[in-house]
Symmetry: D2
Subunit: 328 residues, 4 copies
């Protein structure tokens, strides 16, 4: 147990959004971390619980418009494009580790003096451990990759067909037609079919493990009528038997505390409000079917960011992330 003088000091930029709120919720109860500041220009001076109303009674911290340099880790919980702008306009001490939740640095982009490592621990934990800056993966990208990494490492990937269903929190706080309750309740729709922007970072990771992979990940993203969680079903041609595939996946994920292979049929609420990913395999004829599930705001965003911080700072990878599932 860390004692207080060694607590890691963290700052959060963009603390009023969904991923910023989740970051606060996790860090407030993280045994080795303190929150130095939560930045939000529009809410500066107001208590955190004025925006994240569930925090009433848990903290008296307020949002601030100031950014202190006296921190160890800075989390950027900004919209896509905003993270780069923020870093270009700010002077962050070089010693501060940066974990960026946007997509601005996921494809190898960099800034002067700052290289970013793609922060998927199940792909490259060692690089994360050595990184100074992290590009935190996308939510769909995380779940899809966790379903495919063991195959890519074994050089067994072929053309993949993927269905993904996401909760409404994936669309953020903005009020739009498709986030209106009356519209979305009991509804289904798709968007960006076969063209989702996460496909680039997915392909990049898969080719890192299997350079020969030139097939597509054909991805159908679906808007689910629930707030939290991502369900992925991928299938592809495979010579592996179910037993061989299970063996491959179990071996691959054995060293990873948050990703588990289920031998029983899975359902989304097994992981909602946790940092876990569950993977389940089926074999039908010549096709291998892989289901993978996560909470889009946790393993798909803020939880994974904290997991990366834990690894970068030499803490137990699971510190602060043993979260009670909602289950129901």
């Amino acid at each position: 147990m860390a004692n207080t003088i060694t607590k890691i000091r963290t700052g959060i930029i963009g603390g009023a959004g969904y991923t910023g709120g989740e970051m606060i919720r996790i860090l407030l109860n993280h045994p080795h971390v303190e929150i130095a500041f939560v930045h939000s220009r529009s809410n500066a001076g107001n208590p955190l619980h004025s925006v994240h109303t569930d925090l009433l009674g848990e903290t008296d911290l307020a949002f601030t418009a100031d950014i202190s340099s006296d921190i160890d880790v800075l989390f950027l919980c900004l919209g896509h494009g905003e993270a780069r702008k923020f870093l270009e306009a700010s002077t962050i001490a070089p010693a501060v580790k940066i974990i960026d939740l946007s997509q601005d640095f996921r494809l190898g982009e960099s800034l002067p003096g700052r290289e970013f490592v793609y922060g998927l621990p199940e792909l490259q934990r060692d690089k994360v451990a050595a990184a100074q800056n992290i590009a935190n993966p996308g939510c769909f990208a995380t779940a899809i990759q966790l379903g495919l990494l063991p195959l890519a490492q074994a050089g067994l990937l072929q053309e993949v067909h993927t269905t993904g269903i996401t909760g409404s929190t994936g669309a953020g706080q903005s009020l739009q037609a498709t986030t209106h309750f009356t519209w979305r309740a009991n509804n289904v729709s798709t968007y960006k079919v076969l063209t989702h922007q996460h496909l680039k970072e997915i392909r990049r990771s898969l080719q890192l493990l299997q350079p020969s992979f030139t097939g597509n990940v054909n991805f159908v993203p679906v808007r689910g009528d629930y707030p939290r969680g991502i369900w992925i079903t991928s299938y592809l041609e495979s010579d592996l038997s179910l037993e061989q595939a299970l063996q491959l996946y179990q071996t691959y994920y054995a060293p990873h505390p948050f990703t588990h292979v289920s031998e029983k049929q899975i359902h989304l609420k097994q992981v909602v409000n946790t940092n876990k990913c569950l993977v389940q395999l089926e074999k039908t004829g010549s096709k291998l079917v892989i289901h993978s599930i996560e909470d889009n705001l946790l393993k798909g965003a803020s939880g994974q960011a904290v997991q990366n911080m834990n690894i970068m700072c030499g803490l137990d990878e699971t510190a602060g992330l043993k979260l009670k599932s909602i289950v129901f």
Copy 2:
């Protein structure tokens, strides 16, 4: 069966909103009605199904910015305050019957040459039949009154305690924090507790039947996490036995085709997507409990407006309103 030369010609003002859409849906299939025009300035020229996308394949009608006088009935599906403004600024031929869904004329307000009758058929069908202009009741007001009218007519009302739960369509199309899917899903909250604006029209109707009634209707309005339907539970002190109360209610509602007394426990989805109201009674100790349910957009708005039109025009009260329940 009316033949085409006698079809009632109707116009709809404010056709792009929720109640306007329901009006269109009902009138398109009404056997004795034709839609002369659907007015919406912001959507003029676009097909109805560009806004009400479920109408694709059912009609090629388009919104218009023009208002024809060659109609028999005009439905005003405008926001509160907008109906009065519209009528003051427009020249509607005196022969045109007006049915206003706003609250602008529910408390006895009038315009030069236009008196409005409160359009609750179960309260005063004869006055509706003779009316030239109708103030269509509020959604909560309809459901609460249908739970209390028989008692008021019998002079038996006392202080009433009422819980009401409404679907999100009651809040209209506007995007607000409390209509955001992520917020509202699985959530509960209240608003305007003991001060809801419908209490005035409720009191007015009840005192019409029981002038001595000076008690309150203490009303707790709740935001439900579903799109359609209103649930009301009211209770009050009563000397009536359950049998006497059932007799009173069954007698009162016998001539009314849409309001029925259930002797079994009711649940909201019995009436969703219909123009019906179901009422159920319980007696516990000295208290009489009355449950009453409706679809807020139908019996609570557009369906009742068509019911009023049917009565005003001498049609079968149920014409065009035999709607299939969603049930599930």
Copy 3:
């Protein structure tokens, strides 16, 4: 308009289930039909509204354990396997037309004296019109086929990849772990991935139109957390441009009153509680994407059964099926 002496007399077997209930709801308001009896052994003698509680106030009909022969059409709303057993054990007059909603006769099975025609009007309306007995298609099968028929007729089908999401009513009334509210709310899961039983009837129809089709329909069925409706997204390699594909589909569906091609993005609630199917096309690279949606209990079951009856009996195909959408 038929007058009463020519009304078609119908009987319903298995009237206490979901599809039986929908059948009753449609037929009660069908202008050319009367319900002669609704059979249910376990509920015999009880009013229909004792089971289908939304029918309170709409009919005083009761379930019966007797089967009259004095009918024109008999609907079998029984479980899979039960329809065959019922027909083998019963003596139904040869003149009675039978429409079976189970899967017992969808693959060409027959009974002595009774051949069954697969009742998908958009596939073979003429055969339906001439049929004495109908095997009503499965819910998923209907929606998937309506997304693929124009391609099959044009001989352009190749290996297809299909995601399908179904409401909970698809699982019927039985109480099971996966139909428990606490489990299913906000949840996602899959079942029978790549092995769903409807694949057989789908392949049969497609090969009828395109005998050369030997590819697979790779189908991922998903349990949705809402009661009604099926969403299908299929994609396949295609040389057609979007315009060509639209032209093909619009031409194919022009004579069919319930299936429409949308040029805008569709969402499920456009068709819930109606007998319609909407189809939408997208082209991405070399892939053609086809979305198709329906209400699983209506176009996917009882609504289509009535549509078949209308065709078989020479009525307007849409009689009794102009149902108000729930929309919200």
Copy 4:
């Protein structure tokens, strides 16, 4: 911080149900507790995650049919009536503290050698601290009392009118018509109106604080269409101004770490998946309105049981109970 040799050893009876599962989830991450056994006859030998599937990857513990006496605290997560039967049939060492989640001992019932203290810390934390056995309050009872205790202590209670809405988990795992997804989704209904069994324990507590209170708590329980959480709105006549009432409540709850007074409007998801209760006050005319919310399985059941254990064992009252809210 306790070190491992002093960890409190706990056993759970009825570990396969909803409250048993929540107990396991909390205790697995409780810093000062170890789970000695989880008893379930029907699941003996199976891993906990075979029933509580979200626990996959978190524990390899299995259910057992044996009951060890080598424990400090025993949690009874059994149905009403079953706890008494279990204790009468078992030999539990007298030194073992018992926390019973059923209603069997909430009204002062006892067993030879075992007196039970009503375990509502906000009512009587000192008695809880000194107790050997705890009758853990009901879920509705907890939320209603937390809305009324400060008034009762001040002797200001009068006739109360209360609406309560509960998630489906309140009805447990059993498959019934009213827990079927298809039925409950988007639905509302009530049950045990004015007669709910929790009224007895509520009255008992209130009279403990205000012996003169002879009024009723008129309680309308509503089935909500979501899994977790209880919403309570109570109102009563009161001479207090809003400021006075706020002062009274804030003073009362100041020493209690889980119950907080909100000066802003509250909504249910502020507390879902936490052990918190939020209370909000409004004053309208002469009526004081009190909203109080909780998670029925946590503050309304297993969370409160652990809170009681913490108090009984001299631990920090919040140990193991700083749970991340689901928020969305």
